[in-house]
């Protein structure tokens, strides 16, 4: 039989898929007539911190959104802990790109975090003191509790990102999906966010984040999923995040010096 010589040899077994908090099979997504993601398989390891990396326009965010059912794929299946996505929504928390919403919306910080409790509170259920306390605790975890009553438009970019993270924490999920959580945030926020993500991992949760800063991949994450329209590599940072895979994903867009620098940092 024919074998793709370049894949990383990482072909997940059916049991690995069933245990994976997020498994994608044959996913193709296209805007118009150019696939942004083509025939991608992905199996996220339980309890891992996985970075989805790839050059601009490689389909990173598109893949994440398709996993969540926000964009409709042309083909492919998503399974969460071996079950269809629709049954497992309560187990997933999502942190969208900061720029995806209108921050002029008339609402307070605490109200945004309370949105994370919607599945619990429901359509008409009463918001109790316990809910508010929980929302405040989540804000505390990202260092934003002092801002609870602020209008969201008054926040800086980094603060907005932390509020989104607090909303995801309020969902008390097992799988956290983040879309470029470090894009355009200050250094303090970046530190605060990564601390929260690492504590989630310590609690046994799985974290998957679209990430674009190659220099920090090794520090922040233990697994990578490298994509450029197709899957390039998948696995632990040490084996999947190499000069060769980077070269393949980024092609000429990544200067050789940069590659050397990264591999030196990893070594």
């Amino acid at each position: 039989m024919l074998e793709l010589a370049s894949t990383d040899g990482h072909v997940a077994s059916d049991t690995a898929r069933a245990q994976s908090p997020l498994a994608v099979r044959g996913m193709t997504v296209s805007y118009g007539e150019k696939p942004a993601v083509f025939s991608v398989d992905m199996t996220v390891k339980a309890g891992s911190m996985t970075a989805i990396i790839g050059p601009n326009g490689a389909g990173k965010s598109t893949l994440l959104k398709a996993c969540l059912g926000i964009v409709k794929p042309l083909s492919g299946q998503v399974e969460v802990m071996g079950r269809p996505l629709a049954e497992m929504r309560a187990k997933i928390a999502y942190v969208p790109q900061r720029a995806s919403v209108d921050w002029d919306f008339p609402t307070r910080v605490i109200d945004v975090v309370l949105m994370g409790l919607y599945r619990e509170v429901g359509l008409l259920g009463r918001l109790r003191g316990a809910h508010i306390d929980r929302a405040r605790a989540c804000l505390d975890r990202v260092g934003m509790v002092a801002f609870a009553d602020r209008q969201i438009g008054q926040l800086s970019g980094g603060q907005q990102q932390r509020v989104f993270l607090a909303r995801a924490l309020a969902q008390e999920a097992d799988l956290y999906l983040l879309d470029e959580p470090f894009a355009g945030v200050d250094a303090a926020t970046e530190k605060a966010i990564i601390a929260v993500l690492k504590s989630l991992k310590a609690e046994g949760k799985t974290v998957v984040a679209v990430h674009h800063d190659l220099a920090t991949v090794g520090d922040y994450f233990d697994h990578v999923f490298m994509i450029n329209v197709r899957r390039i590599a998948e696995g632990p940072v040490a084996t999947a995040f190499t000069a060769e895979t980077l070269q393949e994903a980024y092609g000429g867009r990544l200067a050789a010096a940069q590659v050397d620098q990264i591999s030196a940092a990893l070594a």
Binding site: K65, I70, V101, D104, P106, M115, S156, G157
Partner: protein
């Protein structure tokens, strides 16, 4: 307040107020969803809907006409969405193409068919006839407790009251999904909320309010009330709950003040005849918006991302 207030002024004031609130409530969400002009589109297509219903049934009974208007409104919303998606056209332009063409179709149908025997004309569609909705059986405040007299209330009053209750109920029950999906549609979908359905039901409820209000007060009020009170309210507060409350207040103020000014304003200025109440209500709502835009505590943008 003379004895003529209850028979002559109370019903139109109540009808105008209820209509204004029924439109302003969904208007808050339309405003935040950048769909403010949906109200404009809907109110333009009510006329073709009514004309079509008349041509189909051949009678001028209210029920079929309201249904016709409702169907036209929902059809328009779907058509706009269809044109937008199929043609890959920006929403404003798609809206402009659809509602103007439907309005033109309505006018043409009206002119070509024999509707001279019935009271159905473009002007009525535009300004309504709030002033004529009087309660002749009333003799004073006591009539409000008189079952016999109450039976002859102008039929528009209970109709718009029921519509208002329905709209308010919809808003109350779907408050959270509406708020979440308006603020962050992607997140709403990850919660499993049917965002497309929520959007469509909001527009349908807006259409319901528009049709019921149109029947009583004409389309100018409808467009103005969808936009002006919520827009003015947005300048007053940064919280959605309070914004809705302000918009209800502004809608009420516009309706009452507008009606009074239209009826009595010309007299104070030495004129003899009242001017269009619908037009005056829209004007007052514009003045309120102007004042809020000049002095409202939350009039300027805060949401511009501040870089880092």
């Amino acid at each position: 307040m003379g004895a003529e207030f209850v028979p002559l002024s109370l019903p139109p004031i109540l009808i105008g107020t209820f209509a204004a609130i029924a439109c302003a409530l969904p208007g808050n969400f339309l405003l935040l969803r950048r769909q403010a002009l949906i109200g404009d589109a809907i109110s333009h297509v009510v006329l073709p809907g009514i004309v079509a219903a008349f041509l189909v049934t051949g009678t001028i009974s209210t029920g079929p006409m309201l249904i016709g208007a409702m169907v036209a409104a929902v059809l328009t919303v779907i058509l706009i969405e269809l044109v937008r998606r199929l043609g890959n056209i920006e929403p404003g332009a798609a809206m402009g193409v659809v509602f103007t063409a439907m309005f033109a179709g309505g006018v043409l149908l009206l002119e070509l068919s024999d509707t001279s025997s019935v009271h159905l004309d473009v002007q009525h569609a535009l300004y309504g006839n709030l002033e004529s909705l009087i309660w002749l059986d009333a003799t004073g405040w006591g009539s409000l407790l008189d079952a016999q007299a109450l039976r002859y209330l102008p039929v528009e009053l209970p109709r718009i009251a029921i519509t208002l209750v329905a709209v308010a109920l919809f808003m109350a029950v779907l408050w959270r999904p509406l708020k979440i999906s308006t603020f962050d549609e992607g997140f709403a979908r990850t919660l499993g909320l049917p965002t497309g359905l929520i959007g469509l039901s909001l527009v349908t409820v807006a259409a319901l309010a528009a049709v019921a209000a149109f029947d009583a007060v004409g389309s100018i009020i409808v467009i103005a009330m969808f936009i002006c009170p919520p827009a003015a309210a947005r300048m007053m507060t940064n919280r959605l709950e309070r914004q809705v409350a302000w918009s209800v207040l502004f809608a009420t103020l516009s309706a009452v003040l507008g009606y009074v000014l239209a009826g009595y304003g010309p007299l104070w200025l030495g004129g003899q005849d009242a001017v269009s109440a619908a037009g005056m209500i829209a004007t007052v709502s514009g003045v309120i918006l102007g004042i809020a835009a000049l002095y409202g505590p939350c009039r300027s943008r805060t949401g511009a991302p501040e870089g880092a």
